[in-house]
Symmetry: C2
Subunit: 255 residues, 2 copies
């Protein structure tokens, strides 16, 4: 399992070599190679193999998913957004490189994600590559990460229902995970039925993933957690533990 | 000629219908449909037709180019970047919708650009679509718009050589124009030789385009120009007129 994460991290390292202008490449690499990248690549590549594809077909799209995920972290952490100082125990991108470089590093990563799939995928029909790019695109824009973040920002300081919370998390976390799995099923040569089965499976997994993350936020200290602990409570953001109570959220995650 | 711009604007309007969450779609549409979109679509679609392709093949990629261009304007205008209040005579995106929505609207437009080419292009082989997406990707990231903006930001308040200025403008303006032309030559069914010829042609055009823009900045008032006039001089940014003197820059543009 861990081997898959290592392979993706190696491919990510090679995808963004240090070059001029140094600062933006350094900023891109700082957040992209910050570690903690296990769940998504492993799920991704498993989806490719489940439909009978070789692991190697899955790596460029797995890299793209990590690039998109990293872009959304960098932008969501900005002072004008969630204003987060720590992530995985390290200062956030804008804290180290400044706000302007952080915005640009995110833009460059987002664009590189699509370019990388288009130019680095081998032994997959162009038709499948185009289809995968379409799926990836859906996860970012106004129906994905961006939509989730807009609704999340609007929810600060307000009473949010469980349905609204699920909506936010589905868009901010679930959709990318879902697209990752779907992309890899496409890359791996899966037929339409397989792809749709895996899409449903990934939808459930994505939700679980977020509940666990929310629980970690209230129960762990900043040191263990690597992001400002309890911050979601402080800024009065909607989380599962806040809405359901910690014990119920734990139970929900257990189920 | 104008008909082409009208067709692209109609396609852009349809690409982003007003829907929930309203605020981000409104922000995307505000800057994308702000008018002034003539040069790029016309050049784009001409490139498609030059190689014998029907105009309809060119429209999705022309839309993508406008989305990428708009994203870069929205992000470059942010307070942490160039801090511009006016663009085409209208308040900039963050002035109207707030910084966080402006960042997200840019992200959504960038992602939609790639998704749009992947999902809306008709009657072009998937191989050509993948190739065009790869070309578009190169214009944004660390070798394109982002690189230009990083170097541009670093140049404020410094003495910049003409070579450095050309480097900035090539990355911030020229590369997208070049990619637009190249993409459309690919979509139109051009062979490798045609595509490379058009690439060289577009490279020259892109440079000229920026010189004219710089001259307009010093000679026109804010009212005529639609952006804070003389702002490049105020912030001591490198421009052609500053480096060459206004008369020489005019002469250079004339050539």
């Amino acid at each position: 399992m861990e081997m898959k994460a290592i392979k993706v991290n190696k491919a990510l390292d090679e995808a963004i070599p240090m070059q001029e202008p140094i600062k933006v490449h350094e900023a891109m690499r700082y957040s992209l190679l910050a570690g903690g990248k296990c769940v998504r690549p492993i799920l991704c590549m498993a989806a490719c193999e489940v439909v009978g594809g070789d692991e190697s077909l899955a790596i460029p799209a797995a890299c793209a998913v990590e690039m998109i995920h990293t872009m959304s972290l960098i932008h969501d952490n900005l002072p004008c957004m969630d204003n987060d100082d720590l992530r995985h125990g390290k200062p956030t991108n804008h804290k180290v490189f400044g706000e302007n470089t952080a915005v640009l590093a995110g833009d460059a990563l987002l664009s590189l994600a699509f370019e990388h799939v288009a130019t680095k995928t081998r032994n997959v029909t162009p038709q499948r590559v185009v289809q995968a790019i379409g799926e990836l695109g859906l996860t970012v824009g106004s129906g994905g990460l961006v939509e989730g973040q807009i609704v999340d920002l609007a929810s600060e300081g307000k009473q949010v229902s469980l349905t609204e919370l699920e909506y936010i998390h589905h868009h901010k976390t679930g959709k990318l995970l879902e697209a990752a799995v779907v992309c890899e099923a496409i890359m791996g040569g899966g037929n339409e039925e397989d792809v749709e089965k895996l899409r449903s499976y990934a939808r459930c997994t994505g939700l679980l993933f977020q509940v666990v993350d929310d629980i970690l936020d209230v129960t762990k200290s900043s040191d263990e957690l690597g992001k400002t602990a309890g911050k979601d409570l402080m800024t009065d953001k909607a989380t599962y533990p806040k809405l359901m109570g910690l014990e119920k959220a734990r139970q929900f995650a257990g189920e």
